[in-house]
């Protein structure tokens, strides 16, 4: 069976180079214009432990890591075990394994019910013989896979050359030889009995990026020139990127002593007039919560990226979840207004970065961006011209409004205005001197404990929400307008939801979905309109307690229609079939 969509899983130990192989594979795909997607996963070992990757290649636009793994490349069954829970296998599954692994057929750690077609290849042997080093095992595997399933082999060779371009020609040659040995072995020794065959039409190369890179790049593009952070998985790549790039563009990246200092430095820079941001995760965002309240009170524009991981507490730092939503919405004491916005795919991380800076600068408010490990650390392709034109056509960059001549006569930093936004001075601007404060204050910024002033200022700070909601209310909708059953999700779940809806529609089910990009202020009108035709609505999210579900119930009028929760704890992202099967039940 020819197909233009294939999901390949690989597992082995650190030395097996599983993740490198995956990277070469997606890079090869991208260079031949194939849509590619890659997830990696590691065991607890710091280095040299088990690792796995899942690669999806497709001729058509893809939105997720896909679903069941069709092809499994195994260096060691023992290493695979660690990933059993997250790698759901297709039935039948095609397996390429190193014949050096002597696990008996009966002990292979996959579900008994799943049919399997197994090709044993002396991978280690070939690597040693043909490339002279066991390190080339992954190249042999790539050769085998490529030959067996028709992967973009020219791209593969290119990608290998690029990967080792800083090494000697010798290294490149021996890796290419190893790949070739794998392919030759297939041609000479293997009788293909499975039906998996990838077919694709080469096209213009695609961009291949990780979400964290896309976000950092978007921030730079938006004019961010100050970033402070403290390393934390899975967000560190953002500060590392910033640390390399910002100094080139007259910017500053500081590694602070902790997250309290990171957000403090960002607050200082924002007060000083710079577009500033920090990125963190898990524990880090909780530590920042006090000063997020300060930014809210002092109406400072800044952007805080939270690449969510599995929680609570330290949780599982290397895995994903969507359970920091409530923390983003409410995680500080007092009525502290802020904006929360969530990217839905890698390319969207760029767009959302641009929008986050736009909103924060224009409305003088902290903007929290909710990405997650699934989004931040996956590799995904998109078209070359997609980046600088966002899905919702929004790619504006601005700088905050400063007070002008007249304002400066008796400068009121927190002047009551219709929109709630007051022109903002910063050190260096003559006559703009004022005192910023976490204390409640009057229009000039001076502390007050007056009951009425507190009421008025609170109202001012929240007034912005209406204006923001008018300007930014992007929601992704999928499926027919007259659907009966709807799915609402957010952030990184978009991919699985979108694909599930497509599949359901293809199968004749009247189902639609809505994925809001901005979560606070919420695009209420659009969502209420979306609800109109629906009888049943599912809220799908990777949070056991159903944080999004509770949030939506807080203000959306669901009326009589049935509201269902598809909420589960995270660590593994949604599979397409999970959403598909859940929603399909409605029609049974």
């Amino acid at each position: 069976m020819e197909r233009n969509d294939i999901v390949i899983g690989m597992a082995g130990s650190g030395g097996d180079g599983v993740v490198s192989a995956g990277e070469i594979l997606v890079s090869a795909g991208a260079s031949e214009g194939v849509h590619a997607f890659m997830l990696k996963s590691f065991g607890p070992q710091i280095r040299g432990g088990e690792s796995s990757c899942r690669v999806r290649l497709s001729g058509k636009q893809i939105q997720s890591h896909g679903d069941q793994v069709q092809v499994l490349g195994i260096f060691s069954w023992n290493d695979f075990k660690q990933f059993r829970g997250e790698m759901h296998l297709n039935d039948p599954v095609v397996i390429v394994m190193d014949s050096a692994d002597k696990t008996s057929k009966d002990d292979i750690p996959i579900d008994e019910d799943i049919d399997r077609i197994i090709y044993e290849v002396p991978i280690a042997q070939l690597a040693k013989d043909k490339a002279g080093t066991l390190q080339a095992k992954n190249m042999v595997m790539l050769g085998v896979l490529s030959e067996l399933f028709g992967l973009p082999d020219e791209g593969l060779r290119d990608a290998i050359r690029k990967k080792f371009k800083k090494k000697d020609q010798e290294v490149i040659d021996s890796n290419l030889k190893a790949m070739e040995a794998g392919a030759t072995y297939v041609r000479d020794e293997i009788d293909k009995t499975d039906e998996v065959k990838f077919s694709f039409t080469p096209a213009e190369p695609k961009v291949l990026m990780e979400g964290n890179e896309a976000f950092a790049y978007g921030a730079l593009y938006a004019g961010c020139r100050f970033s402070a952070g403290y390393p934390i998985t899975p967000s560190s790549e953002i500060m590392e990127w910033m640390g390399r790039e910002l100094p080139k563009y007259d910017g500053t990246m500081l590694q602070s002593e902790d997250e309290l200092a990171a957000i403090g430095m960002v607050i200082g820079a924002a007060f000083a007039g710079k577009k500033a941001m920090t990125a963190t995760s898990g524990a880090g965002i909780s530590l920042m919560s006090e000063q997020i309240g300060l930014a809210s009170m002092a109406e400072l524009p800044l952007v805080i990226m939270n690449v969510q991981r599995t929680g609570p507490s330290t949780g599982i730092p290397t895995k994903t979840e969507q359970a920091d939503l409530q923390q983003a919405l409410y995680g500080t004491h007092g009525d502290a207004n802020r904006v929360v916005i969530a990217p839905a795919d890698v390319e969207d991380c760029f767009d959302v970065a641009v929008q986050a800076f736009y909103i924060s600068e224009k409305y003088q408010i902290p903007v929290i961006v909710l990405s997650d490990q699934y989004l931040g650390q996956r590799k995904e392709t998109f078209d070359q011209d997609a980046l600088f034109q966002s899905d919702n056509g929004f790619m504006k960059t601005i700088k905050r409004e400063v007070p002008t001549g007249e304002d400066l006569e008796d400068y009121k930093r927190f002047k009551f205005t219709e929109s709630g936004v007051s022109p903002m001075a910063y050190p260096g601007i003559e006559k703009g001197m004022y005192q910023a404060a976490g204390l409640e204050h009057g229009e000039h910024g001076l502390p007050t404990s007056d009951v009425d002033m507190h009421a008025k200022m609170t109202e001012k700070r929240f007034r912005k929400n209406k204006v923001i909601a008018e300007e930014l209310n992007f929601v992704r909708f999928y499926g027919p307008e007259d659907a009966e059953v709807g799915v609402i999700g957010w952030g990184s779940s978009k991919g699985a939801i979108k694909e599930a809806i497509q599949r359901l529609n293809d199968d004749g089910y009247p189902v639609s979905a809505a994925v809001p990009q901005i979560l606070m202020p919420f695009p209420q009108e659009k969502l209420e309109k979306y609800l109109e035709p629906l009888n049943t609505v599912y809220v799908a999210e990777m949070s056991y307690s159903g944080q999004f579900y509770k949030y939506l119930k807080g203000f959306l009028r669901f009326g009589d229609r049935e509201l269902k929760k598809y909420a589960r704890s995270g660590a593994a992202p949604f599979d397409v079939s999970e959403i598909y099967n859940t929603v399909k039940q409605e029609f049974e």
Partner: protein, 294 residues
């Protein structure tokens, strides 16, 4: 500061009154913080700094109310975060004169985690701690600089904790300018603030600033009776060991410039870093995309 044209103007001579804001201090009569404030006005006037080029960052505490009384930019932020916020301001706008002002609790209890880092980075700022050995604003609890045996609202049976020694600490963790001054001696205080602001790097002043309300008049008397000036002792502030010796002097509490070291400040080091980063040609931002096309 590329957006504003700070340097081009002819300088006028500013006076103390130019630095006074319209707000009346909420401090108790007799509070040492008045002295520090007065000295700061003096120092700013002496340095003739345009108010809009100065930013004073404070935390929370009686002492941290200070920025409200000065007509410069001010930020009365949250408890304990003076140093990170000040670092952010300075690194974002190196042209601005950055001053941090706060209490002993703000700086050495909740803010302690930032002290060694700001000091070793040598952030170019002046940090004045109004040390009254008590929590004033919250009405009289134990401070990290209070002494063993001190009875306060939270040490009903006497403190059992060896105090933090601000000056020792600062010298040890890498502050490049360390001074101590008596809030009751405005001239000394103003002189030291001037020097601290002029110093390129992290300058710390331990301002002995008595709390009339929770430490009584005795504290002030004790300070006045027990301080001596290092100038009178022929002290060489460039010698770290000597600085530590005189900081811990058995003869009383030393005041004056105790330690100073010339060392490039953080913003200058960062400029060099940017030079290294731009040695190779830097692409247009839009062209970074090319790196991601395999």
């Amino acid at each position: 500061m590329t957006e504003t044209n700070v340097a081009d103007k002819p300088k006028t001579q500013f006076k103390v009154k130019d630095y006074k804001s319209d707000t009346k201090p909420i401090w108790c009569p007799g509070c040492g913080d008045f002295g520090v404030l007065a000295s700061l006005y003096q120092a700013l006037a002496k340095l003739n700094l345009p108010s809009h080029e100065v930013a004073i960052i404070s935390g929370i505490g009686c002492s941290s109310r200070l920025p409200g009384y000065v007509a410069t930019y001010g930020f009365n932020a949250v408890h304990g975060r003076i140093l990170p916020i000040a670092t952010g301001v300075k690194m974002a706008s190196p042209e601005i004169t950055v001053i941090g002002t706060g209490g002993d609790g703000d700086g050495f209890s909740i803010g302690m985690g930032h002290v060694p880092h700001a000091a070793r980075r040598n952030v170019d700022m002046t940090y004045i701690v109004m040390d009254n050995e008590i929590y004033g604003l919250t009405k009289g609890q134990l401070s990290p600089t209070a002494h063993v045996g001190d009875v306060t609202k939270t040490s009903a049976y006497g403190s059992i904790e060896r105090p933090v020694e601000p000056v020792d600490l600062m010298i040890n963790v890498g502050a490049s300018f360390v001074a101590r001054a008596n809030a009751g001696d405005p001239k000394q205080m103003a002189d030291l603030i001037v020097q601290a602001i002029q110093h390129k790097g992290f300058a710390f002043i331990d301002a002995l600033s008595p709390c009339r309300t929770f430490r009584g008049i005795e504290q002030k008397k004790f300070i006045n009776a027990n301080t001596f000036k290092v100038e009178d002792h022929d002290h060489d502030p460039s010698d770290k060991r000597k600085a530590l010796d005189i900081a811990d002097s058995q003869e009383g509490i030393s005041t004056g410039l105790l330690y100073v070291e010339e060392r490039p400040p953080y913003d200058e080091l960062y400029k060099d870093l940017r030079d290294r980063a731009t040695q190779k040609p830097v692409p247009e931002i839009q062209d970074i995309l090319q790196r991601y096309i395999p």
